[in-house]
Amino acid sequence: MSRPRAPRSPFVAPAWIALASLVGLVSALVGDGVFDVLSWLVFAALIGLTAWAWLRRDRGR
């Protein structure tokens, strides 16, 4: 018998997104090369998240 899962807080995703943004912002500031790449990946992921939400939008009537 599976245990019922506790509902996930709606703030979990925003918290991860805010944390990732902070990493991206600081990363390019502390160094070049790999630090820049990390920053690009983080912000590209945020743009990708928007595209993902748009692609799986519910168009049902």
Binding site: P7, S9, P10, F11, V12, A13, P14, I17, A18, L19, A20, S21, L22, G24, L25, A28, L29, V30, G31, D32, F35, D36, S39, W40, F43, A44, L46, I47, L49, T50, W52, A53, W54, R56, R57, D58, R59, G60, R61
Partner: protein, 385 residues
């Protein structure tokens, strides 16, 4: 969350957003070209390509470069001398008097090695300068800057209150829910929520650092009166020197005093950056972080002797570090492009917020919408179009 608390947050979000949205739209629109200011200047010829230094060439004497710049603007006095970290060029700002404000300054750009005058445009003319002033102070000086700073703080409050409302609205919905096939209002609301959360951290940092940047003038004044005032007090009864010591030698002294750093710019006496009796040679490091954190070296402008190497106070370091975090110019071209895309997403958040306000109903109806998480008992959207 209790209904009265929810209502309070809703009203905070509504009014902070409404008051700042039009100004934020202006800031986002003008900020977009400013991210690419350097590239646009190159493309339009306002910032010409500079030939590399000849092999084995030595930098020209700085005093000779300043004299050449002054010859372009008879009657002017030198204000600032600066190095371009990305090309072998230097600039000299001049003006009618030592405290000439930036909009009235003249600029000469020279090749650092050949001493040749380069055909660069004035920094305080042209379309990009117009956009810059619109973005920073609405052409109103300090009052305009402080006003936009207040708008940036309202924006930050709107983001935080929006996040608080996002919680109860999304508690029954998976992250990224976008329902475009039901009511138009619901589609805009979902879009507003998704884009708002995606841009959350970035927009908060850009908004807060923007507000900090609007305090640049007062913070610099505080630094000058607090720290530089201490050194200036030693020269209290002396008139400002008429004959200045060699700047070339002063820069060499500053280099020797801070061997791990390179000079970024020099302020002449009377400009407000180094008191009335000193050259302020502002040294910086060569990493993305340390190149923002200046170390001033004060050189007596009459004798050329080293006076002091004061540490920048914490609030000045905070100001200098907030500048790249606001402009996004510290992670090469890919970061600039991503910065511009996030700026566009923020514009979409603002437009969707305005659209929701135009399609508004009563506060009670909106509170019910949040409490029911935008779905009815059957999982369908409330308020079909």
């Amino acid at each position: 969350m209790q209904r009265s608390t929810l209502k309070a947050w809703f009203l905070v979000h509504k009014w902070t957003s409404l008051v700042c949205t039009l100004f934020l739209l202006l800031l986002c629109l003008t900020g977009l070209p400013l991210v690419f200011w350097e590239e646009i200047s190159h493309l339009t010829g306002a910032d010409p390509e500079v030939a590399p230094a000849a092999a084995g060439a030595r930098p020209a004497n700085i005093d000779a470069l300043v004299a050449k710049a002054l010859a372009q603007y008879p009657g002017d006095v030198p204000l600032f001398f600066g190095w371009d970290d990305h090309s072998p060029s230097v600039y000299v700002n001049t003006g009618a008097r030592p405290d000439t404000p930036p909009p009235e300054m003249h600029t000469a750009v020279l090749h650092q090695y050949s001493g040749e005058l380069l055909p660069a445009a004035q920094f305080n003319e042209g379309v990009m300068y117009f956009v810059y002033r619109l973005h920073t102070d609405l052409f109103l000086g300090l009052p305009g800057m402080l006003f936009l700073g207040a708008m940036a703080l309202l924006f930050a409050t709107a983001i935080v209150s929006g996040l608080v409302l996002y919680g109860p609205f999304m508690r029954k919905l998976p992250f990224g829910t976008l329902r475009t096939g039901r009511s138009r209002r619901l589609a805009w609301l979902d879009l507003h929520n998704v884009l708002g959360v995606v841009t959350l951290g970035w927009a908060l940092v850009v908004g807060i650092t923007g507000a900090i940047n609007t305090l640049a003038g007062p913070l610099e004044s505080a630094w000058q009166s607090e720290q530089l005032g201490e050194f200036a007090a030693r020269y209290q009864d002396r008139p400002r020197p008429q004959r200045l010591a060699s700047l070339d030698a002063a820069v060499a002294t500053a280099r020797a005093a801070e061997p791990g750093m390179t000079p970024a710019f020099v302020s002449f006496p009377g400009t407000g950056y180094s008191g009335d009796h000193h050259y302020g040679v502002f040294m910086h490091g060569n990493t993305p972080l340390t190149e923002r954190l200046y170390r001033p070296v004060l050189i007596d402008a009459q004798t050329g002797e080293l006076t002091a190497q004061p540490q920048l106070p914490g609030y000045m370091s905070l100001l200098l570090l907030s500048q790249p975090l606001h402009f996004g110019d510290y992670g090469s071209m890919p970061l600039k492009i991503l910065w511009a895309l996030l700026d566009l997403l923020t514009i979409a958040v603002l437009v969707s917020g305005l659209t929701l306000w135009f399609k508004r109903g009563s506060t009670e109806a909106r509170l019910r919408e949040i409490e029911r998480a935008g779905v009815d008992e059957n999982g369908r959207a409330e308020g079909r179009a």
